[in-house]
Amino acid sequence: MTAAILAGVLVAGGVYLVLQRGLIRMAFGVILLGHAANVVLLAAGGLYRREAALIDQIAAVQAAADPLPQAFVLTAIVITFGVTVYLVALAGSGSGDDTEETT
């Protein structure tokens, strides 16, 4: 339930921002959509097992959170960072809605 609401809020915010003027706000929207995707991925692994997946330190395998989506999300975060940096560099160069003062 919480994951669903979280994903819904993030998607709504992200979609709203990517539809605005200017690459910067689109980049912000992409960041929020990235968060939403990560929430969905982790939710897919199941939210009722919440122990860190460290062998030897968990009580039972059944209690451990699913490590596979975690690995996916971890790399996804780093890639989103790379893409965000590229997008803002793009927004900061050239000219247009992002770089001109509001008239």
């Binding site: 669903a4 706000r25 009722y48 960072f81």
Partner: protein, 949 residues
Amino acid sequence: MVLVTVFIGLAATTAVAPLLASRLGRAAGWPLAAAFAALTALTATQAPAVLAGQAVEFSWAWIPSIDAAFRLRLDGLGLLFTVLVLGIGALIMAYCARYFDAKSSQSRFYTLMGIFAVAMLGLVLADDLLLLFVFWELTSICSFFLIGGAGDKAVEPARRALVVTAGGGLALLAAVALLSVQTGTTQLSTILADPGWTEGWTGPLVAVLVIIAAITKSGQVPFHFWLPGAMAASTPVSAYLHAAAMVKAGIYLLMRFSPVFHDMPLWNGVLVLVGLATAIYGAALALKQTDLKSLAAMSTVSQLGYLVAIIGVGTSYALAAAAVHTLAHALFKASLFMMVGVVDNQTGTRDLHRLGGLRRLMPASAVITALAALSAAGVPPLLGFYSKEKMFAGFVDADGPVWAGPLLGLLAVVAAVLTFGYCARFWFGVFGGPLSERTDVREAPAPFLLAPAITGAAGALLGVGVVTLAPFAERITADTGFPGAGVEIHLIPGLSVDLGMSVVAIALGILLHLRREQAGALLDRVRTPFTGDGVFDRAMAGFVAAGSRAGGLTRTFSPAAHLPPAIVLLGVLSAAALWWGTPVGPLQELLVRPTDWIVVGCVAVAVLAAVVVRTRISAVVLLGVVGALMGLWFLLLGAVDVALTQLVVEVLTVVVLVLVLRRLPSRFHSTGTLRRSLAAVLAVGAGALAAGGTLLLTNRRELSEVSRWLMANSKEETGGINVVNTILVDFRALDTLGEVTVVGLAALGILALLRTTSLTGSAAIELTGGTRPEDDPVDNTIVVRTVGRIMAPAIVLLSLYMLFRGHNAHGGGFIGALVAGAGLCLAHAAAPDPRRSLVRRIPYVPVIAGGLALAVVTGLLGYLVGGGFLTPFPIELGFTYISSAVVFDVGVYLIVVGAVVAALHRLAIAELLEDDAAPPGAASRPADDTQYPMVAVGSGGRDSEEGEL
């Protein structure tokens, strides 16, 4: 084995052609001709086996999954065309050695001719449909480049030729696809040997597709117009591609498919109709031409029409005639074209109005041309006479209604009369009559005349020795669907209908030549309301305009305009999936803690605020809040590594955003109410669907089997107990390698981007220049500097600890690198001047490249220990050992650190350095690819980063 030797030999010859041409210039034609001739002789050694019915075959697996192979097969039909391709090719190469200017470089020409020869050889030898298609298109492409190489005026003709022939190639591709799907193989000989697939609709459909491919390639009405246009190319190209070889590819294809189609009325009807129409139309147009080369081109169109029609007749007699005439036409038409080039070179013109009477000045040329022209006109005892007579007989004996034979015979005679007329016009126009204005013309040198003399003599010798062709014609007839059918060829023809037709054709031809003035006037009165070129150009322009209109519907510079359709479509799809119900598992026991709700509530408030704020800096702060809350959420879920990554990335994101945003206006643009409302509606809809989908589709399963296996085996397999990290660097290391490559490329992308365009505004911040401590760039960083001096090295050390402990505890390359990045950001912020920042001294490109190299090399070492790429192995260190996966993780660490440094460097430091390097007083510098075009900053050029933070 001989087949593949010939093929590789030709390819090797082509490979050395540019070398030869750059050394020898035009004379490269001689060694190339020798090579072609040797390959022809090598192929000829297979003739006895082929004649005995033993096709020579070669096969080498290419795409085994669809049973496509590099299959070559030499049967009688293949032998005829191979000898044409290589033999005529040798003569053309010899001709080229004298045709071009002595000084010109012909490397491009010889290379393209060589590639064409390879493609053509492959085409006629291919026993695999895919191979056939590839070579078919390759010949079209070579033709395009060879025509287009002739200069500006050749651009349009080259384009027309390519579009028509490659378009026909698409029909062949469709036929190939249909055949391979229907028969389950791509082996041509198997498909033709078992015509079961011709039942039903496949047969006629494939027949039509093959006909389209053939008649576009062979310049038949209504696609004939590209061939005269192609005469813009140099004469050797016209002689080889557009007379002897490439345009014969269509003839070859039709003959190749004759065994399965020769008794299909559709096949017979279309080919005979198209062929005879082309034969008569082409011959009539040839009579009108005043340019020698255009005359020869229309003659080719007409002769190819003859061949298409006789193949369409589809009897054993007709196919034997087609085989003999293919040979005869290749010989006399190559001669004629080469003589056009000779006349052009010696006199400087190809215009019939300005030529004439050259028989005394160029006697040898006159004889050679006469041999070719008489053969084309069908005068005994030249080869053209026998082949044409065979064709007459084929037309008259055509199957079908009683009137068919006589009608076809009549039309064939009409075409033959016109042919005689234009052949006479060719010879008499150049060599006959009174001498024109030019009197200083000299005979061409012997080496120049060698090649056309050989083709002309061959036409004569084979005419006298025509009976020797009988076994070959018999073999080809067998290969084209009539095994066992005898072919009789007599040197002295008996009294028969076809002899009568020949006599009539020659007599009327002489009459036509004598009355050429009247005939010409009559032809001039016939005007077609449109030309093929015109129709083609209009159709082409129409296509382009339609494409432009279709593209115009979505062409916009605003990225936001592209998104709503995609979002709506996604919404419709997911709504449909929800409506029709995807089967979902039972909901697992829910575990919702009160803390979850706190996070969700805070995120909702922060997102709402981030959406409505008007200043950019507040949006950045709110995004940072959302990111931090996400980290907290991940922590609550037990995803400790993910949470660490998220938190550090959040810090780095804010740093990078501030570096860029400080250059930009502080407020967002306002958007209209309508746009905001539409965006809000879409956003709420998308959010609702996302929430619904997540609710329905997640949290409904046990731990997946893969995860259970990973949990159970991670320790034994890799020695690491942090399962997330072992997945990243052991089990799915290849994925990780791909992902860090993306990160590295994003960093390099920023470098490339900022090398060609500059960032807006300036990295420098003007302070007010007051006397208070916060106005001084050194004083106002006192807090950060003091903290940074201690913390930055500590954080970098911490990052190494995080890196190396990753296999057994929370951490790893990604997290370590991001922590190091945060430390470097702090060090950068602590420097009073970015130019003195520590970050400046880190060579980020080598770091990224080195990291990638380390990761790849570690992966390759996996092969040495007997595993595959990226198989982990233990590395002894004396006192302990580490897994090679940790070394791989070091590579990951270096790439990500390099990327962070690259971003800092490019966004905050680089332009200041270049600014310093600029000569004093220079307001701006020319932009090149290593420097920024930027305006020098003002005198207050010292800056401080944290003035904004």
